[in-house]
Symmetry: C2
Subunit: 215 residues, 2 copies
């Protein structure tokens, strides 16, 4: 039986793009269902009744939710083409640690620092340089967070590639400059130029409009 | 070379206990370093410079942080004795999904519902029955969340075994009653009676005192 792979996403969801990129790296064919979060489809509610959120990957009728969980599922299920996670348990633990750090610390702080207000915004802006320093260090001696090749942790951090400069513009600030974070800046460029991701980037003007509505 | 395994924890940390239980299920010898979070040791700060938190597992000098990441590390490193995660990628994804649900939804809500105040407390109390219903459903047809044997997801939910009735007493409410959640109630009893966990339970009176100070 041929695999049937469906991805429920929105046009701009940064968690969904991780899955798009993973499926493209694995060379998998898949159907995309674009959701309108103001009017969620009955299928999305059926497949993710707990969180009612995208992304959901449906593989041969079985739903998998939560983007980092989906990445691991994809890597374990289609394990031959382009491995995403390292084989070594310690390196794997490090990749999982930093992906969690991204989701719980870095990404929310950059959101608050660009779109937030008052004390929350100020506090986030203080934290970000230390967070980004940690991230920059993970690239020392490597092309990608995954090493020579792009991998799981790159996909977790991948939202920065297309969203940092949007959030910088909307928030009227700079988070990543080339002098302070040279490795991260180079990584953003390398990630952006990966041929199989070419069609994946959300429209920048639409993103600017979307996030301006949040401020 | 014999493995050197050290666990940095506190006496009551519910995330640390997951690791204690996992190491005991695997039959591993390990040294325990009890931290005082008001006066963290230089070693803890060295091993977990990002979060400065317990638990940290140090295996042959290498630190692994974040309890769910540590559980996967332990299972991958010592994979023969008592497997913690299912082999099947879909079942593994389900276990990871519910562990994340515990950490992000169930556990914080029960904390707020017992120790919080005002609107935050009221909102949490409304959510909990729905959350617990999802958890109860995961036990249908099974002894443990891991199936026939105790596993990764049991350890993630394991804080309920010794802490729910403490939080119920301190918060003056009942979260889990036997009539509404019979499977979860039975699971708590079964988990509590596992022989290798016998020495692991934190002192109940000390827990009551600790959490009363939070209200």
């Amino acid at each position: 039986m041929a695999d049937e792979v469906k991805l429920f996403r929105t046009w701009s969801s940064r968690y969904s793009l991780r899955i798009v990129w993973a499926l493209k790296l694995k060379g998998l064919e898949f159907d995309t269902i674009f959701e309108d979060l103001a009017n969620k489809s009955p299928l999305l509610l059926q497949y993710n009744p707990v969180h009612k959120k995208v992304p959901v990957l449906v593989h041969n009728g079985k739903p998998v939710c939560e983007s980092l969980v989906i990445l691991e599922y994809i890597d374990e299920t289609w394990n031959e083409a382009h491995p995403l996670l390292p084989k070594d348990p310690f390196q794997k633990a490090e990749a999982r640690f930093w992906a969690k750090f991204n989701d719980e610390k870095l990404l929310p702080s950059i959101g608050k620092a660009s779109l937030g207000h008052g004390k929350e915004k100020e506090e986030a802006r203080v934290l970000i340089p230390e967070y980004l320093k940690h991230v920059e260090e993970q690239l020392e001696g490597n092309n990608f967070f995954g090493g020579e090749e792009i991998g799981y942790l790159d996909l977790a951090f991948g939202w920065m590639v297309y969203l940092i400069d949007v959030l910088e513009e909307v928030g009227g600030t700079t988070f990543i400059n080339k002098e302070k974070y040279p490795l991260l800046s180079k990584w953003i460029q390398k990630f952006y130029e990966i041929p199989v991701f070419k069609e994946s980037w959300p429209d920048r003007d639409k993103l600017i409009t979307k996030y301006q509505n949040y401020v």
